[in-house]
């Protein structure tokens, strides 16, 4: 994709986002559509999604930086940069979601480490630090210290599943209360990390490097997509077979309440189509097609995260509770507000611009060329 077009899209998204950021910072949560039942909405889904990409990019980057897999040689710097950019956007998403973001320091200095939220805060912070150190060392021209990458790898594995655990521990929400969630989140992270690298290398990478990378990454991603599909089937299939209303109702709401988003975007565009396309050897030769498949995976996965997060909160904890009172946010219904969409747009804009700036000024791709030249 032409960088000018990408920049234009990124800037437009960010401009819309700036209004959202302003609205959130000045008016607080007043214009958000989440409430006291659907407590976590679009921003939390975006945090899971972007945090997952960050972790996934790092894990793929470690194929180069830690395991020295030949097909991935030279992607380390790009992967680390993509990881940092998406992590920053993800943390912004969760920051905007907090009622008092200015008190986030309390999660470091006065933390309750039994809490999943505190674990996430610490986990993502450590992960971000290791990523930053590794990238800094690469920008300085040296290979990142093995110990930093190993620590980053370990924290990445932890934070990949941590949001799944955060949801899964809630015995009050039966739709989430399954050990499948952390596993799902780990595989989603790997898949979306791969998809992000596909997008970067297909649109802005050097063709020869892209082809070399895609020859392995495509098939690995096809396998991951199959696992993702299997996990979605296991999650939904188990819930439907059990037919417990608290679990089955949200699944029915997803499958029949949002047929286009679920069947077309999440299942077909996000899983089946890229799985079939990427499994074919010749697809690796068509860089643009790989990039489009990467985009499809990313969009599909964002929908997947949303459908894990939101419907689980749309069941009454006690029958009739949601209609026992009326007031702002006291409802099971949820559709993101304009402010929420604007902030989300801004975050996507930041990711796009961040990746482009990285490509232009930090030259994350240059190492590929350099290593190729050396080879």
């Amino acid at each position: 994709m032409n960088k000018t077009i990408a920049y234009s899209i990124g800037i437009a998204a960010l401009l819309l986002g700036l209004w959202g950021f302003f609205d959130r910072l000045v008016y607080g949560d007043a214009h958000a559509a989440y409430g006291s039942f659907v407590v976590w909405g679009l921003w939390v889904a975006a945090y899971f999604f972007l945090g997952g990409i960050a972790v996934g990019c790092f894990l793929w980057g470690s194929m180069d930086l830690l395991f020295d897999v030949p097909a991935f040689k030279g992607i380390g710097k790009t992967a680390l940069w993509a990881s940092l950019v998406t992590l920053a956007a993800g943390l912004m998403a969760i920051g905007f979601d907090l009622g008092h973001m200015e008190r986030i320091w309390k999660a470091y200095l006065q933390a309750n480490l039994h809490s999943g939220v505190a674990e996430d805060v610490w986990g993502y912070t450590l992960f971000g630090l290791f990523t930053l150190i590794a990238l800094y060392q690469m920008v300085k021209g040296s290979r990142p210290a093995k110990v930093v990458v190993i620590l980053g790898f370990m924290t990445a594995l932890y934070v990949a599943g941590a949001p799944g655990k955060l949801l899964g521990v809630n015995a009050a929400r039966m739709y989430w209360h399954t050990a499948l969630l952390p596993v799902q989140f780990l595989f989603f992270a790997l898949t979306t990390g791969a998809a992000m690298l596909m997008v970067i290398y297909s649109f802005w990478g050097t063709p020869s490097k892209a082809e070399q990378l895609f020859s392995v990454l495509n098939r690995a991603t096809a396998v991951l997509l199959f696992v993702d599909l299997y996990l979605v089937w296991a999650y939904f299939g188990q819930g439907l077979a059990g037919d417990m209303p608290e679990v089955a109702n949200p699944i029915h709401a997803v499958m029949s309440g949002h047929p286009f988003l679920f069947w077309v975007v999440q299942i077909f565009l996000g899983l089946l189509l890229p799985m079939v396309m990427l499994a074919q050897r010749k697809t690796a030769l068509n860089s643009s097609l790989v990039g489009i498949m990467g985009l499809c995976i990313l969009i599909g996965n964002m929908v997947t995260r949303y459908f894990i997060l939101v419907p689980g909160q749309q069941e009454d904890l006690i029958e009739g509770l949601s209609t026992a009172f009326h007031g702002h946010g006291y409802t099971l219904a949820y559709a993101p507000s304009i402010t929420e969409w604007a902030v989300f747009s801004g975050l996507i804009g930041i990711v796009i611009i961040g990746l482009l700036v990285g490509a232009d000024y930090l030259s994350p791709m240059c190492q590929c060329n350099k290593s190729q030249k050396e080879a």
Binding site: L98, R103, K106, Q110, G116, N170, G329
Partner: protein, 267 residues
């Protein structure tokens, strides 16, 4: 005089007024008030505040909900004690069932463990409290509560859509004065100003802790027109609640989760 000791509120017909076994003819509130005075002399950790709600007596008037909103000056969307209404049966044989749902003040609360900054915890008296100045507004506790007993303060006011007029006389600025006035939850006066706490915080029922401290029953208890809500120190063996929770027809919500609620329902 009949042996009133044997007459318990639970055994009486639902429509009859609940009388204190020890003081026949006296409103049950008087007995509970006296028990509050006894409890006030104890150390906080020696008290075990318990609420008992007689579902047979609840008429679904929502007086407790309104009293709570008024007492704690709750903004739109924030509610500590909604009354859930359920319709039972099939026409023409139908009836209504009412379930007031305060915070259960669980002895094993799932909401406190998930707080990343220890902003919510059980105090010495076993009441699950919020520290508004500590809360970061992540809302994990709302997700964790199996009773939906926590709501989020978005910073709205009932006068939000009121048109502006002459500030000194009518219009939004004049009307919102009452709403902006400080409440006294947890014994701290907090004016509603901008995004300052409790805006952006999670809020919940605390059994009117500020009233308990002064030896006064919770607002929902004193307002209940059917005398369906009882409150007191269950550690006091002569107390009404101690007597009530021992009955066979008493239950708790979602006991299977092991949360050990301190709110009991008489069926």
């Amino acid at each position: 005089m009949a042996n009133v000791q044997e007459v318990s509120p639970v055994q009486k017909a639902p429509s009859a007024p609940v009388e204190s076994p020890a003081t026949t003819g006296q409103d049950v509130l008087v007995r509970m008030k006296k028990e509050m005075e006894t409890a006030a002399k104890k150390k906080p950790e020696e008290r075990r505040w318990v609420m008992v709600i007689d579902l047979r007596r609840c008429v679904g008037c929502h007086a407790c909900t309104v009293a709570c909103i008024s007492e704690n000056k709750l903004p739109p969307g924030v509610v500590y004690r909604p009354v859930i209404i359920k319709e039972k049966g099939v026409y023409p044989k139908v009836s209504m069932e009412f379930l007031p749902r305060p915070c259960m003040q669980c002895d094993n609360p799932p909401c406190t463990e998930v707080c990343p900054v220890n902003a919510t915890h059980k105090n010495d008296e076993g009441i699950v409290v919020m520290d508004y100045d500590q809360c970061i507004g992540c809302r994990a506790c709302i997700e964790a509560c199996p009773y939906g007993a926590r709501t989020y303060d978005f910073g709205h006011a009932y006068t939000d859509d009121t048109p502006n007029g002459f500030d000194f006389l009518v219009g939004q600025k004049k009307a919102e004065v009452y709403e902006r006035n400080a409440n006294i939850e947890y014994g701290v006066k907090r004016e509603r100003k901008g995004q300052a706490s409790p805006v952006g915080n999670v809020r919940k029922c605390h059994f009117c802790l500020h009233r308990l401290t002064a030896g006064i029953l919770p607002a929902c208890t004193t307002t209940c027109i059917g005398r369906a809500t009882f409150f007191g120190d269950a550690n006091d063996k002569s107390s009404l609640v101690h007597e009530l929770i021992a009955k066979a027809n008493v239950t708790q919500l979602k006991q299977e989760l092991g949360t050990k609620p301190r709110v009991y329902y008489i069926l």
